[in-house]
């Protein structure tokens, strides 16, 4: 067995160290080594976006990143989105719009949408749908998700 790698990285603003096998994906490290199970596994091959995390400012599929590649990186996961006092407006909006059923896809949709709204506060419906093409949901039919994102965009804009 290849030697385990010792990795130092930042997750949701905190310094984190872990040991991982070179073959372990970042998704496996998050869920199995660090027991941060908010990030979900859907397809495990890059198609569904359930495992979306933010890595150095870009959304990526953590199932297609090796845990060892996170050395020195700045990571953001779903666990870092809400504060102890309140949900993020996107999370609130997903609840209000019933934009989830089983919820497996939700962390990925939230992180992907959050990245979009941080860059483009006022995207149109088409832009939202295009941006979220790498996130699959087998329950909702997408309309409610898109509506939730557009509503959250309005809320965030008012808040400034």
């Amino acid at each position: 067995m290849a030697k385990k790698a010792h990795i130092e990285t930042t997750i949701n603003g905190e310094q984190v160290e872990y040991l991982c096998e070179p073959r372990q994906s970042l998704l496996e490290v998050l869920r199995d080594v660090l027991e941060m199970t908010g990030t979900k596994e859907g397809c495990n091959d890059g198609n569904c976006g359930a495992c979306t995390v933010v890595m150095d400012g870009r959304i990526v599929n953590s199932c297609l990143v090796l845990g060892a590649e996170a050395e020195g990186a700045n990571l953001e996961t779903i666990e870092g989105v809400a504060t102890p006092d309140s949900l993020h407006p996107l999370q609130q909006s997903f609840l209000q719009n019933a934009a989830l059923q089983c919820g497996i896809c939700t962390p990925g949709f939230i992180l992907a949408s959050k990245a979009l709204l941080e860059m483009e506060p006022d995207p149109g419906e088409e832009r939202v749908r295009h941006w979220l093409a790498g996130n699959l949901c087998r329950c909702t039919g997408y309309d409610k998700i898109v509506k939730a994102v557009l509503e959250a965009a309005d809320v965030l804009e008012v808040k400034g």
């Binding site: 290849a2 070179p22 073959r23 979306t52 959304i59 990143v65």
Partner: protein, 290 residues
């Protein structure tokens, strides 16, 4: 996933040494969007993964109107389409970079990885061919440079040998009055593999009325991405016209050697090559006149 060692060298010479030491049982890792899927699916086996993303030469993205573009092999798609100057200079390549996978994939996937993976359906390869790109390759014996159309040898295979690395792609300076376009056909709008794809590039005369030279290349209709010299030959020196474009589309349809599979039939693919060649030539001409 199978067991392997992971090394992330900081210099090109180190990377080449790590690769050649292991030969066939070492594999570079760029964005990982092909290789990690293949390793997990048991379609490849390796002893060593060499992460090339920290090698400066493979991360270079430098462009000038005079000398053209040097695109490091590991540069992810998003870095390309975020650069307005490059997007404008090489529109055909940009079409592909903003089409590969979804946003998550584009945050990692490189054009170099798309080329090295050598899929017949790879979206970035036809535009690289028509924009006249060359590959800079480094190995133990030094560096060499070849045209992109000579890089892929069979599905999943390329010319790299004995631990050689693709360092970068060089794309000549954009001439004024030139334009490129890449289009593919897929059954949905995003996130699918091309049933057929066509890249076109044209150089127009100063008055925009005739075609000085043109290049056409195809995806998903042969064992490798296919450069169709004949399409260009049928356009060179002709006036911009429906007939000239139709001749070039005919040549592309004749050159295509598609197969029937779950994505499409031979007939459908050949038909698509005609349609897409016409559309990409019209698109390239429109961009050239802008």
């Amino acid at each position: 996933m199978q067991d392997f060692e992971y090394i992330a060298p900081r210099t090109l010479s180190e990377a080449v040494a790590l690769m050649s030491e292991k030969g066939e049982s070492a594999r570079p890792l760029a964005g990982g969007t092909d290789i990690l899927v293949q390793l997990r699916g048991g379609r490849r086996s390796v002893e060593r993964i060499v992460d090339v993303k920290h090698v400066p030469e493979l991360n270079e993205m430098s462009f000038s109107r005079e000398s053209g573009l040097v695109l490091g092999a590991a540069v992810p798609c998003y870095r390309l389409y975020q650069d307005q100057d490059i997007a404008q200079a090489y529109p055909g390549i940009m079409d592909a970079a903003s089409m590969i996978g979804g946003i998550q994939i584009q945050g990692r996937a490189s054009v170099g990885g798309n080329l090295c993976n050598a899929a017949p359906s790879a979206d970035a390869i036809p535009p690289l061919i028509v924009h006249n790109a060359t590959c800079v390759i480094a190995g133990q014996q030094g560096t060499r440079e070849i045209a992109v159309e000579e890089f892929c040898t069979a599905p999943g295979r390329n010319v790299l040998q004995g631990g050689e690395l693709l360092v970068s792609m060089r794309i000549p300076a954009p001439k004024s009055g030139s334009g490129g376009r890449y289009l593919r056909f897929i059954p949905r709008n995003e996130m699918d593999i091309a049933v057929a794809g066509v890249g076109s590039w044209v150089q127009l005369s100063p008055d925009n009325r005739s075609i000085v030279s043109a290049r056409v290349a195809l995806a998903s209709v042969a064992p490798t991405p296919l450069f169709v010299e004949e399409s260009g030959a049928r356009l060179a020196g002709r006036e911009v016209s429906k007939e000239a474009i139709e001749d070039a589309a005919q040549a592309a349809m004749e050159a295509a050697r598609p197969i029937s599979d779950m994505r499409g039939t031979i007939q459908q693919r050949r038909h698509l090559v005609g349609v897409l060649t016409r559309r990409t030539l019209e698109g390239a001409i429109a961009r050239a006149t802008n």
